[in-house]
Symmetry: C2
Subunit: 161 residues, 2 copies
Amino acid sequence: MQKKVKTRGFAELIPLLVADVYQLAGAFRQWGDGIAGEVGQTQARWQVLSAASVGGRTVAQLARRLGYARQSVQRTADLLVTDGLAKYASNMDHRKSPHLELTQHGDDALKTLTAAAGQEHKKLAAAASAAGVNTTELQTALDVIRQMCAAMETKGFATRP
Amino acid sequence: MQKKVKTRGFAELIPLLVADVYQLAGAFRQWGDGIAGEVGQTQARWQVLSAASVGGRTVAQLARRLGYARQSVQRTADLLVTDGLAKYASNMDHRKSPHLELTQHGDDALKTLTAAAGQEHKKLAAAASAAGVNTTELQTALDVIRQMCAAMETKGFATRP
DNA sequence: GTCATATTGACAGCATGATGTCAATATGTA
DNA sequence: TACATATTGACATCATGCTGTCAATATGAC
Protein backbone atom coordinates (compact mmCIF):
# COMPACT_ATOMS: atom_id res chain seq x y z
CA MET A 1 0.00 0.00 0.00
CA GLN A 2 2.88 2.31 0.63
CA LYS A 3 3.63 2.53 -3.03
CA LYS A 4 0.05 3.36 -3.89
CA VAL A 5 -0.15 6.19 -1.36
CA LYS A 6 3.15 7.59 -2.57
CA THR A 7 2.07 7.48 -6.20
CA ARG A 8 -1.18 9.20 -5.41
CA GLY A 9 0.52 12.08 -3.62
CA PHE A 10 2.94 12.35 -6.48
CA ALA A 11 0.26 12.56 -9.15
CA GLU A 12 -1.48 15.29 -7.21
CA LEU A 13 1.62 17.46 -7.38
CA ILE A 14 1.62 17.39 -11.18
CA PRO A 15 -1.11 19.98 -11.77
CA LEU A 16 0.61 22.25 -9.26
CA LEU A 17 3.90 21.84 -11.08
CA VAL A 18 2.25 22.62 -14.41
CA ALA A 19 0.68 25.79 -13.05
CA ASP A 20 3.88 26.97 -11.38
CA VAL A 21 6.06 26.23 -14.38
CA TYR A 22 3.67 28.21 -16.59
CA GLN A 23 3.77 31.06 -14.12
CA LEU A 24 7.55 31.15 -13.90
CA ALA A 25 7.96 30.77 -17.65
CA GLY A 26 5.61 33.72 -18.13
CA ALA A 27 7.63 35.83 -15.73
CA PHE A 28 10.88 34.81 -17.44
CA ARG A 29 9.37 35.72 -20.79
CA GLN A 30 8.46 39.20 -19.59
CA TRP A 31 11.89 39.55 -18.13
CA GLY A 32 13.61 38.45 -21.32
CA ASP A 33 11.46 40.73 -23.43
CA GLY A 34 12.45 43.54 -21.13
CA ILE A 35 16.15 42.84 -21.64
CA ALA A 36 15.72 42.47 -25.40
CA GLY A 37 13.55 45.58 -25.53
CA GLU A 38 16.28 47.72 -24.04
CA VAL A 39 18.31 47.05 -27.19
CA GLY A 40 15.30 47.44 -29.46
CA GLN A 41 15.03 43.71 -30.07
CA THR A 42 12.63 40.94 -29.12
CA GLN A 43 13.19 37.51 -27.66
CA ALA A 44 12.42 35.86 -30.97
CA ARG A 45 15.06 37.93 -32.75
CA TRP A 46 17.50 37.37 -29.91
CA GLN A 47 17.14 33.62 -30.19
CA VAL A 48 17.70 33.66 -33.93
CA LEU A 49 20.64 36.06 -33.60
CA SER A 50 22.19 33.79 -31.02
CA ALA A 51 21.68 30.62 -33.02
CA ALA A 52 22.90 32.29 -36.22
CA SER A 53 26.01 33.71 -34.57
CA VAL A 54 27.76 30.38 -35.05
CA GLY A 55 27.47 30.94 -38.79
CA GLY A 56 27.06 28.55 -41.68
CA ARG A 57 23.49 27.59 -40.87
CA THR A 58 20.44 27.83 -43.09
CA VAL A 59 17.09 29.02 -41.85
CA ALA A 60 15.77 25.47 -41.83
CA GLN A 61 18.73 24.31 -39.73
CA LEU A 62 18.22 27.17 -37.28
CA ALA A 63 14.54 26.33 -37.00
CA ARG A 64 15.26 22.71 -36.18
CA ARG A 65 17.85 23.72 -33.63
CA LEU A 66 15.56 26.24 -31.97
CA GLY A 67 12.59 23.91 -32.04
CA TYR A 68 10.38 26.37 -33.92
CA ALA A 69 8.55 25.99 -37.18
CA ARG A 70 10.69 26.67 -40.20
CA GLN A 71 8.39 29.45 -41.39
CA SER A 72 8.46 31.25 -38.06
CA VAL A 73 12.24 31.42 -38.09
CA GLN A 74 12.16 32.40 -41.76
CA ARG A 75 10.08 35.45 -40.99
CA THR A 76 12.26 36.51 -38.07
CA ALA A 77 15.40 35.96 -40.15
CA ASP A 78 13.97 38.08 -42.96
CA LEU A 79 13.24 40.85 -40.46
CA LEU A 80 16.79 40.67 -39.12
CA VAL A 81 18.11 40.98 -42.67
CA THR A 82 15.76 43.87 -43.37
CA ASP A 83 17.05 45.62 -40.28
CA GLY A 84 20.67 45.02 -41.25
CA LEU A 85 21.46 42.69 -38.35
CA ALA A 86 22.03 39.70 -40.59
CA LYS A 87 22.53 38.84 -44.22
CA TYR A 88 22.12 35.83 -46.44
CA ALA A 89 25.35 34.31 -47.70
CA SER A 90 25.27 31.93 -50.64
CA ASN A 91 25.44 28.28 -49.71
CA MET A 92 27.50 26.02 -51.93
CA ASP A 93 25.55 22.99 -50.78
CA HIS A 94 22.14 24.32 -51.67
CA ARG A 95 21.51 26.95 -54.31
CA LYS A 96 18.14 27.92 -52.88
CA SER A 97 19.03 27.81 -49.19
CA PRO A 98 21.59 30.46 -48.16
CA HIS A 99 23.37 30.62 -44.84
CA LEU A 100 22.22 33.26 -42.38
CA GLU A 101 25.21 35.29 -41.17
CA LEU A 102 25.32 38.14 -38.68
CA THR A 103 26.47 41.53 -39.87
CA GLN A 104 28.76 43.61 -37.68
CA HIS A 105 25.66 45.44 -36.52
CA GLY A 106 24.00 42.13 -35.59
CA ASP A 107 27.09 40.90 -33.79
CA ASP A 108 27.21 44.10 -31.77
CA ALA A 109 23.55 43.77 -30.86
CA LEU A 110 24.07 40.18 -29.73
CA LYS A 111 27.05 41.16 -27.60
CA THR A 112 25.00 43.91 -25.97
CA LEU A 113 22.18 41.47 -25.30
CA THR A 114 24.52 38.89 -23.83
CA ALA A 115 26.08 41.45 -21.52
CA ALA A 116 22.69 42.79 -20.42
CA ALA A 117 21.47 39.25 -19.75
CA GLY A 118 24.51 38.54 -17.62
CA GLN A 119 23.79 41.58 -15.49
CA GLU A 120 20.17 40.59 -15.10
CA HIS A 121 21.08 37.03 -14.20
CA LYS A 122 23.15 38.37 -11.35
CA LYS A 123 20.30 40.54 -10.14
CA LEU A 124 17.85 37.66 -10.29
CA ALA A 125 20.28 35.42 -8.46
CA ALA A 126 20.49 37.99 -5.70
CA ALA A 127 16.71 38.28 -5.51
CA ALA A 128 16.30 34.52 -5.45
CA SER A 129 18.89 34.21 -2.76
CA ALA A 130 17.04 36.82 -0.74
CA ALA A 131 13.82 34.85 -1.32
CA GLY A 132 15.46 31.93 0.44
CA VAL A 133 16.60 29.69 -2.42
CA ASN A 134 19.94 28.01 -1.92
CA THR A 135 22.24 26.40 -4.46
CA THR A 136 21.49 22.82 -3.42
CA GLU A 137 17.74 23.26 -3.73
CA LEU A 138 18.10 25.08 -7.03
CA GLN A 139 20.21 22.24 -8.37
CA THR A 140 17.58 19.73 -7.24
CA ALA A 141 14.89 21.79 -8.96
CA LEU A 142 16.94 21.83 -12.15
CA ASP A 143 17.35 18.08 -12.01
CA VAL A 144 13.63 17.55 -11.50
CA ILE A 145 12.75 19.88 -14.36
CA ARG A 146 15.10 18.04 -16.67
CA GLN A 147 13.72 14.69 -15.63
CA MET A 148 10.22 15.99 -16.26
CA CYS A 149 11.34 17.13 -19.70
CA ALA A 150 12.69 13.64 -20.32
CA ALA A 151 9.42 12.14 -19.13
CA MET A 152 7.49 14.43 -21.47
CA GLU A 153 9.68 13.39 -24.35
CA THR A 154 8.92 9.74 -23.77
CA LYS A 155 5.29 10.76 -24.20
CA GLY A 156 6.14 12.40 -27.51
CA PHE A 157 6.06 16.02 -26.47
CA ALA A 158 9.02 17.74 -28.03
CA THR A 159 10.93 20.16 -25.87
CA ARG A 160 12.91 23.12 -27.08
CA PRO A 161 16.67 23.62 -26.68
CA MET B 1 35.01 34.27 0.60
CA GLN B 2 32.68 31.35 1.06
CA LYS B 3 29.68 33.52 0.47
CA LYS B 4 31.10 34.93 -2.74
CA VAL B 5 31.86 31.51 -4.20
CA LYS B 6 28.39 30.29 -3.32
CA THR B 7 26.75 33.29 -4.93
CA ARG B 8 28.77 32.89 -8.09
CA GLY B 9 27.80 29.25 -8.52
CA PHE B 10 24.23 30.20 -7.82
CA ALA B 11 24.12 32.93 -10.45
CA GLU B 12 25.50 30.55 -13.04
CA LEU B 13 22.57 28.21 -12.51
CA ILE B 14 20.07 30.93 -13.43
CA PRO B 15 20.48 30.78 -17.22
CA LEU B 16 20.18 27.00 -17.03
CA LEU B 17 17.01 27.34 -14.99
CA VAL B 18 15.57 29.80 -17.49
CA ALA B 19 16.30 27.51 -20.42
CA ASP B 20 14.91 24.43 -18.70
CA VAL B 21 11.79 26.17 -17.47
CA TYR B 22 11.11 27.40 -21.01
CA GLN B 23 11.63 23.92 -22.31
CA LEU B 24 9.32 22.29 -19.79
CA ALA B 25 6.69 24.98 -20.19
CA GLY B 26 6.79 24.41 -23.95
CA ALA B 27 6.29 20.70 -23.48
CA PHE B 28 3.43 21.30 -21.03
CA ARG B 29 1.85 23.66 -23.52
CA GLN B 30 1.93 21.06 -26.28
CA TRP B 31 0.56 18.52 -23.87
CA GLY B 32 -2.29 20.79 -22.75
CA ASP B 33 -3.13 21.70 -26.31
CA GLY B 34 -3.30 18.00 -27.07
CA ILE B 35 -5.75 17.39 -24.24
CA ALA B 36 -7.84 20.40 -25.20
CA GLY B 37 -7.68 19.45 -28.87
CA GLU B 38 -9.25 16.08 -28.21
CA VAL B 39 -12.41 17.90 -27.18
CA GLY B 40 -12.13 20.41 -30.00
CA GLN B 41 -11.00 23.18 -27.69
CA THR B 42 -7.81 25.13 -27.11
CA GLN B 43 -5.90 25.96 -23.95
CA ALA B 44 -7.04 29.57 -24.09
CA ARG B 45 -10.69 28.55 -24.24
CA TRP B 46 -10.13 25.96 -21.55
CA GLN B 47 -8.71 28.55 -19.19
CA VAL B 48 -11.59 30.91 -19.74
CA LEU B 49 -14.15 28.10 -19.44
CA SER B 50 -12.56 27.06 -16.18
CA ALA B 51 -12.44 30.56 -14.74
CA ALA B 52 -15.97 31.31 -15.88
CA SER B 53 -17.38 28.09 -14.45
CA VAL B 54 -17.62 29.73 -11.04
CA GLY B 55 -20.16 32.11 -12.54
CA GLY B 56 -20.98 35.73 -11.81
CA ARG B 57 -17.80 37.13 -13.28
CA THR B 58 -17.43 39.73 -16.00
CA VAL B 59 -14.87 39.46 -18.76
CA ALA B 60 -12.72 42.10 -17.09
CA GLN B 61 -12.79 40.18 -13.82
CA LEU B 62 -11.85 36.96 -15.58
CA ALA B 63 -8.98 38.71 -17.35
CA ARG B 64 -7.57 40.02 -14.09
CA ARG B 65 -7.88 36.62 -12.48
CA LEU B 66 -6.20 34.86 -15.40
CA GLY B 67 -3.49 37.49 -15.70
CA TYR B 68 -4.25 38.21 -19.35
CA ALA B 69 -5.16 41.45 -21.08
CA ARG B 70 -8.83 42.26 -20.92
CA GLN B 71 -9.17 42.31 -24.68
CA SER B 72 -7.59 38.88 -25.11
CA VAL B 73 -10.10 37.31 -22.75
CA GLN B 74 -12.88 39.30 -24.40
CA ARG B 75 -12.13 37.75 -27.74
CA THR B 76 -11.94 34.22 -26.35
CA ALA B 77 -15.16 34.77 -24.41
CA ASP B 78 -16.91 36.01 -27.55
CA LEU B 79 -15.75 32.90 -29.39
CA LEU B 80 -17.06 30.68 -26.60
CA VAL B 81 -20.42 32.45 -26.80
CA THR B 82 -20.45 32.13 -30.59
CA ASP B 83 -19.82 28.41 -30.23
CA GLY B 84 -22.58 28.02 -27.65
CA LEU B 85 -20.30 27.09 -24.77
CA ALA B 86 -21.07 30.24 -22.80
CA LYS B 87 -23.53 33.09 -22.74
CA TYR B 88 -23.67 36.61 -21.41
CA ALA B 89 -26.06 37.12 -18.51
CA SER B 90 -27.11 40.63 -17.56
CA ASN B 91 -25.27 42.10 -14.64
CA MET B 92 -27.26 44.17 -12.16
CA ASP B 93 -24.14 45.96 -11.02
CA HIS B 94 -23.03 47.13 -14.44
CA ARG B 95 -25.39 47.66 -17.36
CA LYS B 96 -22.64 47.40 -19.94
CA SER B 97 -20.66 44.55 -18.38
CA PRO B 98 -22.55 41.23 -18.36
CA HIS B 99 -21.50 38.12 -16.49
CA LEU B 100 -20.07 35.27 -18.53
CA GLU B 101 -21.90 32.05 -17.71
CA LEU B 102 -21.33 28.56 -19.06
CA THR B 103 -24.13 26.90 -21.00
CA GLN B 104 -24.89 23.22 -20.44
CA HIS B 105 -22.76 22.52 -23.49
CA GLY B 106 -19.87 24.51 -21.99
CA ASP B 107 -20.21 22.80 -18.65
CA ASP B 108 -20.09 19.41 -20.35
CA ALA B 109 -17.00 20.40 -22.30
CA LEU B 110 -15.26 21.58 -19.14
CA LYS B 111 -16.12 18.35 -17.32
CA THR B 112 -14.71 16.36 -20.21
CA LEU B 113 -11.55 18.44 -20.20
CA THR B 114 -11.13 18.07 -16.45
CA ALA B 115 -11.55 14.31 -16.65
CA ALA B 116 -9.10 14.04 -19.55
CA ALA B 117 -6.57 16.18 -17.71
CA GLY B 118 -6.85 13.96 -14.64
CA GLN B 119 -6.06 10.91 -16.73
CA GLU B 120 -3.11 12.63 -18.33
CA HIS B 121 -1.79 13.82 -15.00
CA LYS B 122 -1.71 10.21 -13.83
CA LYS B 123 0.13 9.13 -16.96
CA LEU B 124 2.68 11.91 -16.58
CA ALA B 125 3.15 11.08 -12.92
CA ALA B 126 3.93 7.52 -13.88
CA ALA B 127 6.37 8.63 -16.57
CA ALA B 128 8.07 11.05 -14.17
CA SER B 129 8.31 8.38 -11.55
CA ALA B 130 9.90 6.07 -14.10
CA ALA B 131 12.31 8.89 -15.01
CA GLY B 132 13.49 8.82 -11.40
CA VAL B 133 11.68 11.75 -9.81
CA ASN B 134 10.47 11.18 -6.27
CA THR B 135 7.88 13.07 -4.26
CA THR B 136 10.37 14.81 -1.99
CA GLU B 137 12.44 16.15 -4.87
CA LEU B 138 9.33 17.21 -6.74
CA GLN B 139 8.13 19.10 -3.69
CA THR B 140 11.50 20.82 -3.40
CA ALA B 141 11.34 21.78 -7.08
CA LEU B 142 7.87 23.23 -6.56
CA ASP B 143 9.11 25.26 -3.61
CA VAL B 144 12.04 26.61 -5.59
CA ILE B 145 9.85 27.51 -8.54
CA ARG B 146 7.48 29.39 -6.26
CA GLN B 147 10.32 31.21 -4.58
CA MET B 148 11.67 32.17 -7.98
CA CYS B 149 8.22 33.48 -8.89
CA ALA B 150 8.25 35.51 -5.72
CA ALA B 151 11.72 36.80 -6.55
CA MET B 152 10.55 37.78 -10.03
CA GLU B 153 7.61 39.62 -8.56
CA THR B 154 9.86 41.70 -6.38
CA LYS B 155 11.53 42.73 -9.64
CA GLY B 156 8.16 43.77 -11.02
CA PHE B 157 7.54 40.84 -13.37
CA ALA B 158 3.93 39.82 -12.95
CA THR B 159 3.25 36.10 -12.83
CA ARG B 160 0.04 34.45 -13.88
CA PRO B 161 -2.22 32.43 -11.64
C1' DG C 1 -26.62 66.62 -7.57
C1' DT C 2 -22.46 67.36 -10.27
C1' DC C 3 -18.46 66.51 -12.21
C1' DA C 4 -13.68 64.40 -12.61
C1' DT C 5 -11.92 59.81 -12.85
C1' DA C 6 -11.84 54.86 -13.52
C1' DT C 7 -13.67 50.89 -15.65
C1' DT C 8 -15.66 48.49 -19.39
C1' DG C 9 -16.58 46.64 -24.01
C1' DA C 10 -15.91 47.48 -29.08
C1' DC C 11 -12.88 47.96 -32.59
C1' DA C 12 -8.49 48.32 -35.10
C1' DG C 13 -3.92 46.92 -35.57
C1' DC C 14 0.64 44.55 -34.33
C1' DA C 15 3.85 40.45 -32.92
C1' DT C 16 4.91 35.93 -33.10
C1' DG C 17 3.78 31.37 -32.86
C1' DA C 18 1.32 27.69 -35.99
C1' DT C 19 -0.35 25.28 -40.49
C1' DG C 20 -1.01 24.30 -45.41
C1' DT C 21 0.27 24.58 -50.25
C1' DC C 22 3.35 25.32 -54.16
C1' DA C 23 7.38 25.40 -57.02
C1' DA C 24 12.34 24.95 -56.98
C1' DT C 25 16.01 22.23 -55.70
C1' DA C 26 18.75 18.20 -53.56
C1' DT C 27 19.20 13.50 -52.77
C1' DG C 28 19.09 8.69 -53.08
C1' DT C 29 17.98 4.66 -55.73
C1' DA C 30 16.98 1.79 -59.66
C1' DT D 1 20.80 8.88 -66.36
C1' DA D 2 16.14 9.10 -64.69
C1' DC D 3 12.88 9.43 -61.50
C1' DA D 4 10.56 9.18 -56.79
C1' DT D 5 11.12 11.52 -52.52
C1' DA D 6 12.58 14.99 -49.22
C1' DT D 7 13.91 19.56 -48.25
C1' DT D 8 13.61 24.39 -48.80
C1' DG D 9 11.84 29.11 -49.23
C1' DA D 10 7.69 31.94 -50.55
C1' DC D 11 3.24 32.93 -49.67
C1' DA D 12 -1.32 32.87 -47.53
C1' DT D 13 -3.95 32.14 -43.49
C1' DC D 14 -5.10 31.25 -38.67
C1' DA D 15 -4.58 31.50 -33.30
C1' DT D 16 -3.68 34.03 -29.47
C1' DG D 17 -1.19 37.11 -26.99
C1' DC D 18 -0.40 42.40 -26.93
C1' DT D 19 -1.41 47.70 -27.38
C1' DG D 20 -4.05 51.93 -28.26
C1' DT D 21 -8.31 54.61 -28.78
C1' DC D 22 -13.18 55.66 -28.16
C1' DA D 23 -17.71 56.04 -26.15
C1' DA D 24 -20.68 54.33 -22.53
C1' DT D 25 -21.10 53.63 -17.86
C1' DA D 26 -19.90 53.41 -12.71
C1' DT D 27 -17.85 55.48 -8.86
C1' DG D 28 -16.30 58.67 -5.67
C1' DA D 29 -15.22 63.44 -4.07
C1' DC D 30 -17.16 67.69 -3.43
